[in-house]
């Protein structure tokens, strides 16, 4: 690395990563708990392709959201790595013991 100067410093990298992590966890909580459990009863009054919506969220929808969250994280964090110049140089991050 170090060929070109990173766009953001490492402190900004970590702060940005923490903010995004919190946002993802908030979505995780809203879909997995608020919509699928706490509000399941009222949401069940909504018909979603033949299935009560609360039930569909709890047994299908939340799982699709979980997969998307992990996908978004992998893409967004990869970009952030490059911006801050902290992506791995080659194919091996750390052999056992190398990180400390």
């Amino acid at each position: 690395m170090a060929n070109n100067a990173p766009e953001i410093d490492r402190e900004t990298y970590w702060r940005t990563l923490m903010r995004r992590t919190l946002i993802l966890l908030t979505v995780w909580f809203i879909t997995g708990y608020v919509m699928s459990i706490f509000l399941a009863e009222p949401l069940n009054n909504i018909d979603f392709g033949g299935i009560p919506f609360g039930f569909w969220m709890a047994q299908q929808g939340s799982i699709f959201v979980f997969v998307s969250l992990v996908l978004i994280y992998a893409i967004a964090t990869g970009q952030l790595d490059r911006q801050a110049g902290v992506e791995e140089d080659d194919d091996s991050t750390a052999a056992p013991g190398a990180a400390h």
Partner: protein, 580 residues
């Protein structure tokens, strides 16, 4: 060929494949043995995580539980997938950067203490043994139903039960590839096992969905089946299938879902899989592949649950209990009654649908689904092979954790740090062999429902590992005093609570028939890990802020694992300055 012939065929084919992979992937180093040389491709690791993760409980028991619990069964569906979100964004990439062999390795180094390492090793062994008990039991259930006729003469010949033979064969297979190939053998066998189990799981769901609704996609077919099922439920005087909180209170649904998620993220056999990939980036992407591969099964499971319940209730409403016993359409009842997993002796004319469902063991639903829907025998046999793949793949991952905790963390790091590579490898192989025998004994002398036993492992993992791993990464100040106090409090609280609430199940024959208490603050034994986890967080926090901060090298280590690239000493120095 009948069911027995096809099952034998699939079992022989898949088992030969596993053994073939074992021979191909023999290892000669501890790095190969514990973390597959850290060279597992991202996609393959995703599949291996999937197989490692999806156990006998996921494959054999879960859809059955959902089928009987309706909406409330969502705890398993969400709990066992949502945990991967926590794992993927809070733990996996950072632990990969740390780059050691085991979870106790991280705990020992991050909390600069061999006590912490030993406590973590004990917790890892404890959690893994709880979990493995269910796997070997699953192997036994499959054997007794599908290969019972085949091994019966042998079993009577040596005077043991059929289930024992099944468990012994399962142990022999796992022993071959785990002892020879360690993590490498286990990983590549798991890739094969994932393919077997996912094909075996989805084929019946697709076939049944298609025959009921004309749609080959189970996720779409449920839109048509659910309204009919709910209608049938009402007709038979049952609660709506899609109605929440019929079996569990909202608080328990919340607590159990949370425990299963945090427990998933804290299970050592899952975490350690992320040590096997090459880079931090591939740890993130293999977490994605893992949840994708897992979600395939977990979104099909509700369909399997619905279809089988619909078929059973439909036959019941048309034929009545007595008619079901005689009709050739429901011949599956007779074959399963023979294994004792449906108690047809309690059936009577005019019995209620609820009473009928109560006589059917939850664990048989997935295995019986192809027969319930009258699919051809080769599908039935394939599902049996899939169930074995699920149980064996998880068992082998757990065996490796038990072995590495003892051989690497206790023997290699504490008892004999001077041990040579050869000695370590020999000890690792020996311990994995002993652990397999221990697991087999738990399968022959089972502790209870497959899924129930497994569910407790999650409570223990959520209350012990999850908090201190997360704090270890995101809170630099967290110190060893806090972590040790937290893990001990969380683990012992949860363990004692589970004993208080559930010991009567295992001790019934000793005259203990009543639990000391049913619930704690309204939370049952499966969800109690949530309280243990909160206690762990709170205790770790307060003990930490009242004791000394961790040494500079540990704070540097935490700084180091937060970034994918290896930081230079200079960069770490800057970070240390800006902290103070």
């Amino acid at each position: 060929m009948g069911i027995l012939g096809w099952t034998t065929f699939w079992v022989v084919v898949t088992f030969s494949l596993y053994i073939g992979i074992a021979i191909w992937s023999r290892v000669t180093s501890t790095k190969g043995f514990y973390v597959a040389g850290q060279g597992v491709p991202t996609l393959a690791n995703g599949m291996a995580v999937g197989a490692d993760w999806m156990s006998a409980a996921s494959f054999i028991s879960m859809a059955g539980l959902v089928s009987f619990m309706g909406f409330d069964g969502s705890v398993y569906l969400m709990g066992w997938t949502g945990g991967y979100v926590l794992l993927a964004i809070l733990l996996a990439p950072f632990l990969r950067k740390f780059g050691e062999y085991t979870v106790p390795d991280f705990v020992g180094k991050r909390y600069y203490s061999n006590y912490a390492r030993v406590i973590a090793a004990i917790a890892a062994i404890f959690v893994s043994f709880t979990y493995v008990a269910g796997q070997m039991r699953g192997v036994g259930v499959v054997f007794s139903r599908f290969l019972g006729e085949l091994v019966e003469p042998l079993a009577t010949g040596i005077g043991v039960e059929v289930i024992t033979i099944g468990v012994v064969i399962g142990m022999a297979i796992v022993a071959t590839y785990a002892v020879l190939g360690g993590m490498k053998g286990i990983t590549y066998t798991q890739v094969a096992q994932y393919c077997v189990l996912i094909v075996a799981y989805t084929i019946p769901a697709v076939a049944i969905g298609f025959s009921l609704t004309g749609s080959p996609i189970p996720h779409v077919a449920i839109g048509e089946v659910l309204p009919q099922l709910d209608g049938l439920q009402q007709e038979l005087g049952l609660d709506m299938y899609s109605g929440p909180f019929a079996n569990l209170s909202m608080l328990n649904v919340f607590a159990i879902t949370f425990v299963l998620m945090a427990g998933t993220a804290g299970l050592p056999h899952v975490i350690v899989r992320f040590y096997t990939v090459k880079t931090v980036k591939s740890a993130r992407w293999s977490a994605l592949w893992a949840i994708v591969f897992i979600a395939i099964l977990y979104t099909v499971a509700p369909a399997v649950a619905m279809f089988s319940r619909y078929e059973i209730l439909q036959s019941f409403s048309e034929l009545g209990a007595m008619g079901m016993l005689e009709s050739p359409r429901t011949s599956w009842i007779q074959t399963w009654a023979a294994t004792g997993l449906i108690e047809t002796s309690q059936w009577s004319e005019g019995m209620s649908a609820n009473a009928l469902l109560d006589t059917i063991d939850r664990d048989i639903i997935v295995l019986a689904t192809p027969e319930i829907a009258n699919l051809s025998p080769w599908v039935v046999g394939l599902v049996a092979a899939g169930g074995l793949a699920a149980a064996l793949s998880t068992a082998s991952g757990l065996m490796l954790v038990i072995s590495s905790s003892l051989a690497h963390d206790v023997y290699g790091e504490i008892i004999n740090p001077e041990a040579s590579e050869q000695q370590r490898l020999r000890v690792g192989r020996f311990i994995i062999f002993v652990a397999i025998i221990g697991a087999g004994l738990l399968g022959i002398y089972p502790l209870g429902f497959v899924a129930e036993v497994v569910a407790f492992a999650f409570g223990l993992a959520a209350a012990s590992f999850f908090p201190i791993l997360v704090l270890g990464i995101f809170w630099k100040r967290c110190n060893k005093e806090g972590a040790i106090a937290g893990i001990v409090t969380g683990l012992s609280f949860t363990f004692i609570m589970i004993i208080m609430m559930r010991a009567h199940v295992a001790l019934a024959e000793f005259g203990v028939t009543e639990p000391v208490f049913e619930t704690f603050l309204g939370i049952n034994a499966q969800g109690i890990g949530l309280v243990g986890m909160i206690l762990n967080f709170v205790v770790t926090y307060f003990v930490t802020i009242n004791t000394e901060e961790p040494p500079q090298e540990v704070q540097d280590l935490v700084e180091q694992i937060r970034y994918p690239r290896t930081l230079t000493a200079e960069e770490l120095g800057e970070a240390a300055q800006s902290d103070s």
